[in-house]
Symmetry: C4
Subunit: 192 residues, 4 copies
């Protein structure tokens, strides 16, 4: 089974997810600068989610570069990831329109957690199909970044009820450690 | 005629169909967990349809792997399938917003039936163009899964008026037997 | 300049145009069969436009198969075609929601006319770049289908004010003569 | 790292941006020609933005033709460009619905400026990765068009408060000087 269509389909879904979010930025009824003010939280949540979807696209791109074969179970693991990612626009719009209130921030964190878990599942499925000497396996052997992210999400979800701003800072922190694309795979390619 | 653009166009349409459905999940006006409650049927219907579109994409992907040539009539059969699939978001939103009432469930079943029929038509067109020894022909020779699905849809449509839950269970059952991607084609490739 | 990205971009735009139209089919507030009744004109207009966009995709696909090189002016002619096609969802929704009234039918015809003209412009640009012995040139030498279509559109626009049904029938007629994909190019390929 | 998926993803996002704008052209409630009148500014703003996104797609297409390798930092520069481009539909809809009022025109110009800056950043990242003898470097060596555009945007933003029409004319002027695709790259390819 070849991986090209899986990549093309994922690119399509990710491109739509990243662009559909802007439909939630409602055009003001007025033509003053003040009318843009209520949009600030909406735009901020859009920026955060844009970066997250960008991170997933970058890492997905990098991971599939070393993939040689694709199985039925990889197709479904990929769809499982796309499912959770496709809920991001909903949560983004909710946190923005509710001014980063506790419950929406908690739900947003839950979605980010599910995205991270399903990404890890996909990664494991790929490693299982490739042999243990695979470039990918070596690259993600001790997945420090992944573990820190999971820890951040898991603490951010309940902390939203202490202060939603703590959760927000944790989401931003995770985004920042991932913006640098996963150079581990690149390094491992060069080593071989 | 080469099959690449047919695949690319189908991937595009399927990616949009699967993602457009989330636009129907309206963001709550409130920021409590309770405000998510009325969304439960909408999200459940989204999950079911996401799985269905995923199944069609997976099988479409697998089927076109063994396709060597594409004719004008295959292009139109493919568009006929995409037409019925593109109505899925409408029916999904209807069953969700009407809490799985009888008429919407019946219409949803009718659409699934038309998708199944048009998929079979497309398959037959492809087999006709390839010769009888084709991998695809052997793989789908006695299409047990396909026949069970048709039987389920045809019974689910009137049964919605007995109880919409019976129809719902039948739709879930069909989804489950297809989630396992069509290993018949894979097997047939390995045999050759 | 290679033609792959032009094809990929056009496929993307056409896939979105064909799928975005279903967003106009508003989900009924009720759960009866009667609530589907007011949707009938909307669905009919959707079917007609789906077929039209399908025709453009098919012919675009066939035309670019024989294209070897792409110039800056071809890129813009292609965008000019995509511009007019992208207005189809607007007109489709208008004729459907206004029950095929005269003015919307006339505007719909005008858009179809502009699509046809811009398609012909694109075709001519391609022929000019290829040499006169090109497969495409021979295939469309005496463009009978194209001329009949133009004649139909030009008569349908004013005839909408006599009766919108005449225009409707003319649009359906043109669609029917094009549903059969442009076998002229296929024939010409086989001749060479 | 190969550039194919970066191109495919960018094509997807640009195709969605260019098509999503038409969703803002609200279908009239009436069926007269007069009901189209209030749509004129919306359609005009759509045409301008369609041309701008078309220009970015054309130049992006041309630039990546000479790109051989892609790095993580190019992926992010590309996403930064796509971010600003994805805000174009919002500003387009705002200037159209507010009849080209001063503040929206100023915001629109700001977005165009950010698009131009992020495009230049992307270009510089690519040149840095390629060596100094790269085709791209020579092609954009003294980026006259780019400098004129920046000057126009920077003057158009404050001038919107003198008269929004001056800004509008400046945006149209910049579009016109770019509609002709960047023949510098083509020329440079032929020279080598």
């Amino acid at each position: 089974m070849n991986k090209n269509r899986l990549e093309a389909f994922s690119d399509g879904v990710l491109a739509i997810i990243i662009t559909i979010m802007i439909l939630e930025i409602k055009v003001p009824e007025d033509n003053s600068f003040e009318s843009l003010k209520p949009l600030i939280p909406v735009v901020l949540s859009f920026v955060l989610s844009f970066v997250y979807v960008g991170i997933y696209w970058n890492n997905h791109h990098q991971m599939f570069q070393v993939v040689k074969k694709v199985s039925g179970s990889i197709l479904w693991s990929n769809l499982f990831l796309l499912f959770w990612l496709s809920l991001i626009p909903f949560a983004t719009s909710w946190i923005g329109s509710q001014n980063f209130a506790a419950v929406p921030m908690c739900v947003y964190g839950y979605l980010l957690l599910m995205c991270a878990i399903s990404y890890t599942l996909l990664q494991n499925k790929i490693i299982k199909l490739e042999d243990k000497d695979s470039t990918l396996y070596k690259a993600v052997e001790n997945d420090k970044k992944g573990k820190i992210s999971l820890a951040c999400y898991i603490s951010a979800i309940p902390l939203a009820f202490v202060s939603p701003w703590i959760s927000g800072l944790l989401y931003i922190a995770v985004a920042l450690i991932w913006v640098i694309p996963d150079s581990r795979i690149e390094k491992q390619i060069n080593k071989n």
